[in-house]
């Protein structure tokens, strides 16, 4: 093989492969260091959200939510203080608004938070503010949740919150059933 052929066809290929190999090892190494930290952060974050919506709660056990339409996850408080359930609905422009609701043992909403980071800042994000979310506090049945007004000019975002809460309340009996198992 002439030197020209090597420089023309083989060398570019070899150089690119070598660079890719080196960076792959570098990235794999970094990932092995950061992945556990990331997982731990996510766990702590989720735990903190759950504790915030259910006053007096400490640790949680996850429940099986298969068959409950619209419910993303459900947790039972280990001390029996109640349940924490999340549901996500489409907000404005396709982003998902995730609602986390704390329920006492009678299915009453005791705390609620909504992740509105995908909504328009200053407009749709109003649906995640305490002043709006407090409308859902103390509700027990899904029909009552559906009666809560949406926010004018943030209809999509606030409807997503409302759908989330009503879905969670509608499924409360099944969640309770899953916990009893």
């Amino acid at each position: 093989m002439s030197k020209e052929t090597f420089n023309e066809y083989i060398k570019p290929f070899l150089v690119l492969v070598c660079i890719c190999l080196v960076v792959s090892f570098l990235l794999a190494f970094t990932n092995s260091k950061t992945a556990p930290v990331v997982a731990e952060n996510q766990r702590v974050e989720a735990e903190r959200t759950r504790q915030a919506v259910l006053p007096g709660s400490a640790s949680f056990t996850e429940l099986d939510v298969s068959g409950m339409e619209g419910v993303d996850s459900a947790f039972r408080e280990d001390g029996g203080a109640g349940y924490v359930v999340t549901a996500g609905y489409k907000g404005y422009g396709g982003g998902i608004v995730t609602v986390t609701v704390g329920l006492d043992n009678d299915g009453r909403v005791v705390g609620i938070s909504a992740n509105v980071s995908s909504e328009t800042k200053g407009i749709g994000s109003k649906a995640g503010q305490e002043s709006y979310l407090s409308n859902y506090r103390d509700l027990v049945n899904a029909a009552a949740a559906e009666q809560v007004d949406t926010i004018s000019n943030a209809t999509y975002s606030s409807t997503a919150v409302r759908n989330g809460v009503s879905t969670i309340l509608r499924n409360f009996e099944s969640i309770k059933g899953a916990a009893a198992k």
């Binding site: 570019p12 990235l27 970094t30 990932n31 950061t34 974050e45 980071s117 200053g122």
Partner: protein, 226 residues
């Protein structure tokens, strides 16, 4: 030392990547709604720019010109992924606020532009200063814009309320407000340069100013030779 300083200042003013070369505008417009996010983005981009410039300058004699663009992209993507992983693990709130724009540094024209225009033709130290200067230039613009947008658009500064609720110019936090401010910033810089007697004429020919010339030199020389 003086020529290093010149390279550094070049990125900050004379060839400011955002306002003069108009590169990387997408991330500037999108992220400059909050000062902390803008600053974080600036630091992340500066890190990637410096690292990729240094590595590409080191490899400039090894990389065959045929595969140079894939090689540059791999190197740039590596540093972006590194920043992403580290930021997700240790600076979660910043990671959340930058969102997709952090990964989009891979295709940021400033980084690839500097790799192609500068690092592949200059030594390691010069490339380091070029990356640093360009990064600082970018950070200055994005922080400057985000101060105005956060202060008048959301009424806060670094998250603390400065202007009471209800007295904001909401449009500044949206895309149109960003474009408007971007145009104003360019106008101010050009006016300032004109006042100091510097002619501002983006030339189509290269006349030694590689960053402002959008054609590849190899092609040009070949065409001239023919």
């Amino acid at each position: 030392m003086r020529d290093k300083m010149k390279i550094l200042l070049n990125g900050m003013f004379k060839e400011n990547p955002v306002l003069i070369l108009a590169l990387g505008c997408c991330s500037v417009l999108a992220v400059s709604v909050s000062v902390s996010g803008g600053f974080g983005m600036g630091v992340a981009l500066t890190f990637v720019l410096v690292c990729s410039n240094v590595v590409i300058s080191l490899l400039r004699n090894i990389i065959p010109s045929k595969v140079r663009i894939p090689c540059y992209i791999v190197v740039i993507a590596t540093f972006v992924t590194l920043v992403e992983m580290l930021m997700e693990a240790y600076l979660k709130s910043l990671y959340d606020s930058l969102g997709v724009f952090l990964s989009l540094i891979v295709v940021n024209c400033i980084v690839l532009g500097r790799a192609e225009m500068f690092a592949s033709k200059h030594g390691v130290v010069d490339s380091f200063f070029d990356g640093l200067g360009m990064g600082i230039g970018y950070t200055m613009v994005i922080v400057g814009m985000s101060v105005v947008r956060e202060l008048f658009g959301s009424g806060t500064l670094l998250g603390c309320r400065v202007i009471p609720e209800g007295y904001q110019l909401g449009i500044l936090t949206q895309a149109p407000g960003g474009f408007f401010l971007f145009g104003c910033a360019i106008a101010i810089l050009v006016a300032a340069m004109a006042k100091r007697g510097k002619k501002f004429e983006p030339k189509m020919g290269c006349d030694g100013n590689c960053a402002a010339c959008h054609s590849a030199c190899e092609d040009r020389k070949e065409a001239e030779a023919k």
